[in-house]
Amino acid sequence: MKYRVLAAIPFVFTAIVAIVFAMYPEGAGRLIAMRAEIELVKALALIGCVVAASSFERGDYLRRAWLLNGACFVVLILRDVTFKMSLPQGPQLENVQASLVLVANIVSIAGTWMMARTWQVAGIDPSQSKARIALILSAAAIALTITGTAIYTDIRDATATASRIGALEALASDFGDVFSLCVIAPVLLTAWAMRGGVLRWPWALYTASLFGWLVYDAIAGVSTFVTLDPWTHRLAGELCRTISCTFLLSAGIAQRLVIASFDAPSSRLLSTPPEAP
């Protein structure tokens, strides 16, 4: 039951965010609400990653993976708080901002890569079936197709506009997304393989978070071909960001709950009555 509640949280939270945005149809209030939403959901994602990492001990594989996922949000929040909300804008500072986005994407890639490789690291099934490889490659191709449009747009902007730093920042983000989305299939397959076990929950929720980012990039791609009202486009993107970040929060809490179930004496999930001799 508690895991189902965790799965529902992102939808409820996203609905609340949509209602809040609807209350600010235009003006400064809308921008303030959006900035607050962006920082809040990044903070929630960070909390999820920290909660999950704290379930493990130093040296544990998934502790490192969760910490790397969380480090991305630390850097992004630092960037937002210092540059977007405090310091004045300028070319020098734009370089620093772009560098921070690059760092955030590198650690995000590392964290997602570790999550995707967990199945191999565990060594449960060393054989890579043809179907599994085909699924992973197909998913990577779909992810590339979706994010490729965003990359094309940002490369075009980087070469054609005066604001190259902004476009390069977006490009760093695009490449981070491409990589993360290309590894959706291995993460999804891990969640699927765990069906029927409690560990499926953190994996399924983590997969849902990645899917949210896939849709986020798909929306950016759609805007290349279809003329969208800028606010509608932005709103759709922000709702995707909200659902992705809150799914990460839920995944982190689910990871914590699963691990905590080992410690609860009453839950002794593994124990069975002794057999008759």
């Binding site: 379930s55 493990f56 001990e57 040296g59 544990d60 594989y61 998934l62 502790r63 967990t118 690291v121 565990a122 060594g123 449960i124 099934d125 060393p126 393989a193 765990m194 069906r195 029927g196 076990g197 409690v198 560990l199 499926r200 699963v258 691990i259 080992f262 410690d263 002794r268 999930l269 593994l270 124990s271 069975t272 002794p274 001799p277």
Partner: protein
């Protein structure tokens, strides 16, 4: 009374299934039985338990961490190995 080998494999898989799900639990027992003992789960006896559990340790550590892997293994040993 000596348990039939298949029953031992099934029981270990059943314990692991709570966390890993039945499919992965069965695959894990089969994979690590082959890896550690060089034979299938249908041949497992209680004497094979320590080696099989040692082989399962890295896999469990990856998914649930060092400390909790030991909890799971100790529990399996306690429930099935007696």
């Amino acid at each position: 009374m000596t348990q039939p080998p298949r029953a031992i494999a099934d029981k270990i898989a059943e314990k692991l299934a709570v966390y890993l799900g039945p499919h992965t639990a069965r695959v894990a027992v089969k994979t690590f039985s082959m890896k550690a003992l060089g034979r299938g789960p249908e041949t497992l006896t209680r004497l094979d338990m320590p080696r099989l559990l040692a082989a399962l340790r890295p896999m469990l550590r990856t998914f649930v961490g060092k400390a909790h892997a030991e909890t799971v293994l100790a529990q399996i040993q306690e429930d099935i190995g007696r």
